[in-house]
């Protein structure tokens, strides 16, 4: 009996110590992200200056934007128009049609006057064969390249095909449904241009476009999502990008550049093999391989997160979609841990090896398993009447209040520094603050459940099926509406 009591106490203390350690790590990350933000505030001048300096110089590096598309006929034209609105002196847009079964390709050909051109496609990274490359006969769309390829089934295959076609030293990988802020490329490239060591990747902040008003491919009014699930995701994304990733960026150990919007150095990507078409977390996997390559070659490098670059994406708004997405992410995380195990706790890989990856392992990978075991433990205690309700309430209160505090810290940080451009209406922040108060009770258990299902599927060897999220599209403002009624974004 005494053995069981010892196990009982050990488990209780383990959970308690773990919670305290997570809290301490969050505080540390707030400190890191604040420092990173302060540094970027000094290094990054205002938009006018950046545009003035980069636009006028012949040395400004050109960028390719790669956007794979599969069955996007509802939104493809608007989305390509949105990409065309990006303000940058020299860039090309590569839309990769992954053998869509709808009219995506036909719409592109018809609307942008595309014709097939001979093109020496370099198979730098593995992808399904490219059937043809199309360019527009209309000079207004000269930036646009459409790649028609055989079905790869995954976004990573489409991205690799885009990498094979792209002709610039830097490329941005994005989703075709993303609405990119017009100044995004300037701000990201400013980091590349002013970096004293080679910048191999730049990550941007992603936010939910659900609820935003889009006009001519631009978000003209940023609003907090109205439905509850996207609003929780909004908080989650803000936490992830503005605290975690910015914090990792401060110590140059960012482990992930989101597949939704990230800038990469083509040479390093090619040398590290591009995206892995079999991986569920292809973005993390590729960045880790890039870091490994740079470390093995003994070259200095930098990977950064820019707070003030925003990319709007439509988040899943149904329970089923979010379940599928999170299960996939959890499988991806398990896969990363198992594939890149040699990097973990390995001082050869610097801060990434001795700090970042162990941190991810302890606080992100193990957390859902501990939480679910804690839950079952609690249920067991409930049956045997072993719960001290007073202590339980105090400990739950501590965890709840701390998680609310973290979200509020984030909102304050964001509102104060205007990290997310345009998102500065007081009412929006109050909405998010309210969401922060119910998120730990409703949303967090759901995500924990999905993560555990994902782990279970990975361990039991169930085949992963990649299903794209059903997009409903963002709100569009009619052009005829008088301009003076339109609320203009203030800076």
């Amino acid at each position: 009996m005494s053995t069981w009591i010892t196990i009982y106490y050990l488990f209780c203390y383990l959970i308690f110590g773990y919670s305290l350690a997570i809290m301490a790590s969050y505080l540390l990350f707030i400190l890191f992200s604040r420092s990173a933000q302060a540094g970027q505030r000094v290094d990054m001048p205002d938009d006018d200056t950046i545009r003035y300096q980069l636009k006028g110089s012949p040395l400004t590096p050109a960028v390719s934007i790669i956007a794979p598309a599969y069955n996007e006929e509802k939104t493809i034209i608007d989305n390509v128009n949105s990409l065309m609105q990006i303000d940058y002196p020299d860039y090309e847009i590569i839309i990769v049609n992954d053998a869509s079964s709808d009219h995506t390709l036909e719409l592109l050909i018809e609307n942008f006057e595309m014709v097939e051109v001979p093109y020496d496609v370099a198979m730098r990274v593995p992808s399904k064969p490219i059937k043809r490359v199309l360019k527009s006969t209309n000079p207004n769309f000269s930036k646009l390249v459409v790649v028609d390829k055989e079905r790869g089934g995954r976004k990573s295959d489409g991205s690799n095909a885009g990498i094979n076609v792209c002709s610039n030293k830097y490329f941005v990988c994005t989703d075709v449904d993303c609405v990119i802020e017009p100044m995004a490329l300037y701000r990201m490239m400013w980091l590349v241009v002013t970096s004293h060591v080679p910048m191999i990747g730049v990550s941007a902040t992603m936010l939910m476009s659900n609820g935003c008003v889009v006009e001519d491919g631009r978000v003209v009014e940023a609003r907090v999502p109205r439905s509850i699930l996207p609003m929780f995701q909004q908080l989650e994304y803000m936490r992830s990008f503005l605290i975690s990733k910015l914090g990792w960026s401060f110590i140059n150990s960012l482990p992930n550049i989101s597949g939704g919007f990230g800038l990469f150095d083509l040479d390093v990507v090619v040398k590290s093999g591009g995206y892995d078409n079999t991986s569920m977390a292809e973005d993390v996997d590729m960045l880790l391989r890039m870091i490994t390559y740079m470390r093995n070659s003994g070259k200095p490098y930098r990977v950064a997160q820019v707070a003030k670059v925003c990319c709007w994406t439509e988040g899943p708004s149904s329970l089923q979609a979010i379940y599928r997405q999170r299960v996939r992410w959890a499988r991806g995380l398990f896969e990363i841990v198992s594939h890149h195990w040699k990097l973990f706790f390995n001082p050869y890989y610097g801060v990434v090896g001795i700090f970042t990856l162990p941190f991810i392992f302890i606080f992100e990978f193990i957390a859902p398993m501990l939480e679910i075991s804690g839950f079952f433990f609690m249920v067991w205690l409930l049956f045997i009447g072993g719960i001290n309700w007073g202590t339980a309430a105090i400990v739950f209160g501590m965890i709840y209040l701390f998680s609310v505090l973290m979200c509020l810290f984030l909102l304050l940080f964001d509102y104060n520094t205007e990290a997310v451009p345009w998102y500065n209406r007081r009412r929006s922040y109050w909405h998010l603050a309210l969401a922060a108060m119910i998120e730990p009770i409703i949303y967090h258990p759901l995500i924990t459940y999905c993560s555990n299902v994902g782990y279970f599927q990975f361990i039991s060897g169930q085949t992963a099926v990649w299903k794209p999220i059903q997009r409903t599209g963002v709100k569009k403002r009619e052009k005829e509406k008088p301009a003076n009624n339109a609320p203009t974004p203030t800076k």
Partner: protein, 429 residues
Amino acid sequence: MDSVSALSYYYNLITTYVTYFWTYYRDLFRDYPYEVKTAIWVILWSLFLIIVIFVRLEHIGYKRTKRDELRKKLEGRFGRLLDSIFACDVYNPMSREDIKNAIDIDPERLAKYGYLRNDEQRRMVCRMAYERLMRDEVAGPSRTKNLQLFLNVLGLQNFLEKEITRGSTWRKMKAMTQARAFKLYMNPWLLNRLMTSPKVRLRRVAMYMSVMSSSDSELAYFETDFFDKNSCIYDEIELGYILNRRRNAGMKLPNLAHWAELQKKDYTKCMFVRLMRRFDQREYCAQLEPMFRESKHKKLIEEIARTWGYLSYTEGEQLLVEALLTQPDDTKVAILHAITRMDTGKNQRVIVDTYRYNRNPHVRYEALRCLWNYSDDGKEMIEVLEQRAHPEDKKLFAFFRNPLTLSRMPLNKEQAYHPSVETVYNIAN
């Protein structure tokens, strides 16, 4: 009660309250286990911080509203004048009186507070002028002079100087960027002070501003090993901009090869060699010869070769041919391109031999491209080589004959990234 005793009174009051509550809670949970105590401690702090954050959120919102109102007010007062400055297309210099008369301000208020009441207003007006300037496509001399006069009348030139000397790094950077855009003369002593700052970005911006706004002697910064850290593309952009302005103003450009020699870091040397190419400094190419012979840095050798090719420095051709035998493959490609650009007609044999005897398909492919452009009979030579080629090599020719590959020639780009590089590797493998 004087201010000191009031302060100590409130201090005592607060410390008494804090001590009371601290003691109270400590005693309340005295016999509890430490995990409960810790949880209570976290809860209290969290609650306190949550309240602070809510108050702060409201405070920021209030400040932002005030800022917007201020901006609106200042736009009403100075916006029209600024717009008229940027709207004038002909040379129409204004006088101080014109400016003063155009400012829409109540005389009583002017007598009491001046044009601008505090630093926040000054910053805002600088910002308004700067935004308009950055979006102005024309930016002729008349506009610049009128803008400078406007800033002078409002005392903003002095204000920007003050901003450079005090405040945070961010403020200093902003003030310098604005002063530079307005083409204001800044006291060199101020800039020199910033050039000793531990912050690299601040140092560089100050240096570029100093070089931009002053005489030849300021260029001497580059004669020292100023770039203590590796230079970046930004440095090259800035230097290119400064040198371009000097060239447009009819000033003599400095000897960039000499600057390259003085630098300790190879990456920085590369930057100056590239700039030589951009500013057509053929007369100094000979100075690069020792560097080309002695350097172990692959990138530097490539840059020198490209520069010689671009500037047709035919005196260095022999050195290039010799280097072709010893350098690694990537460098060989740059050398081949340089020889092709020189196009003296003497070294076709060297290119053909590179194609024949090199085992790297990328180098062989590039040799073919060079041969295509080399002298009059280069294309004929390719026909001959193709007829005699090994069946495996036919693929190389087939790829080379792709219409898009051929349309990209001649090789007038400095080093356009060519997507065929890895393809050629793939063909070989």
